[in-house]
Symmetry: C2
DNA sequence: GACAAATGATACTAAAGTGGTATCCTTAGG
DNA sequence: CCTAAGGATACCACTTTAGTATCATTTGTC
């Protein structure tokens, strides 16, 4: 069970690399060569980051990507939600038909608490902090 | 991203039912009929629980399962590990070749902290507490 | 303006994980 | 010895995650 998947993982690396080169424009090819990640895959990730306005892109010849905000304004949690969807540990462990006590179920409460703890832990983590 | 999968879920329900009937011997068929879970699937789960010495089984005619310890001695975390493997959120977010700082990496430390928090939260949860 | 080098959009394929099924073997009470 | 149970194991289906391919569009350079 992974908390962080490969998309998020690669995204962090790519952002880090592009931020380092700022204000230079960095092409997909460069990211692929420097980081050794599969090209079409990293392209898709860069596109998503651009849509999320974490990167800016310029098309055409000599085009590429630049970072559009400081690392201290990019939150790990946002990346995770972007690439992995909402962080939810469980809805109801019991199946609908069986579940006796949807309202005040201790399991549900427990899991929910844990989920909230994790999200709170993650909330403060920016890429800046993460990567020194 | 689920913290609890169906195996664990079904296991909790089955244990609860069998504990309720204790000291009667309960057959797979009965569990299946009462809880409405698919028979071959629940059979596999009961087998695993037996191997883990949470249930005891008697073979042959009129055989079946009984609970082998009180609900207060069965930990949710143990069930999760039994059916879902080790709870590990991530090993190294970066791939081996790229990872610059395996030793004192803040990401790793963060995620590890979160993982430990979750495990600690879960550690205290017994089935007894869970099911009143 | 044509060309080339870049991103945008989108659809597809492959691999892994999860959920579920089927079959045959072994045991033991009646 | 027959039958009703569990033990072991192998298989299949579905979903999610990871990765690939293709074509269209944009834009700097000559
Ligand atoms: S049993 Fe359904 S919400 Fe807990
Ligand atoms: S980057 Fe490898 S352990 Fe953190």
């Amino acid at each position: 069970m992974k908390l962080i998947n490969k998309n998020t993982d690669y995204a962090v690396q790519a952002i880090y690399y592009i931020a380092q080169k700022s204000p230079d424009i960095v092409s997909t090819v460069e990211v692929e060569e420097k980081l050794g990640l599969p090209r079409p895959f990293i392209r898709k990730i860069l596109q998503i980051l651009t849509k999320a306005e974490i990167l800016s892109s310029s098309k055409g010849n000599k085009g590429g990507f630049t970072i559009s905000r400081p690392l201290s304004d990019i939150y790990l949690l946002d990346l995770m939600q972007l690439f992995q969807g909402r962080i939810a540990f469980t809805d109801c462990s019991f199946q609908k038909k069986v579940c006796p006590n949807a309202g005040h179920c201790p399991l549900r409460r427990r899991i929910k608490t844990i989920e909230e703890t994790v999200i709170n832990e993650l909330k403060g983590v920016t890429l800046k902090e993460l990567l020194n």
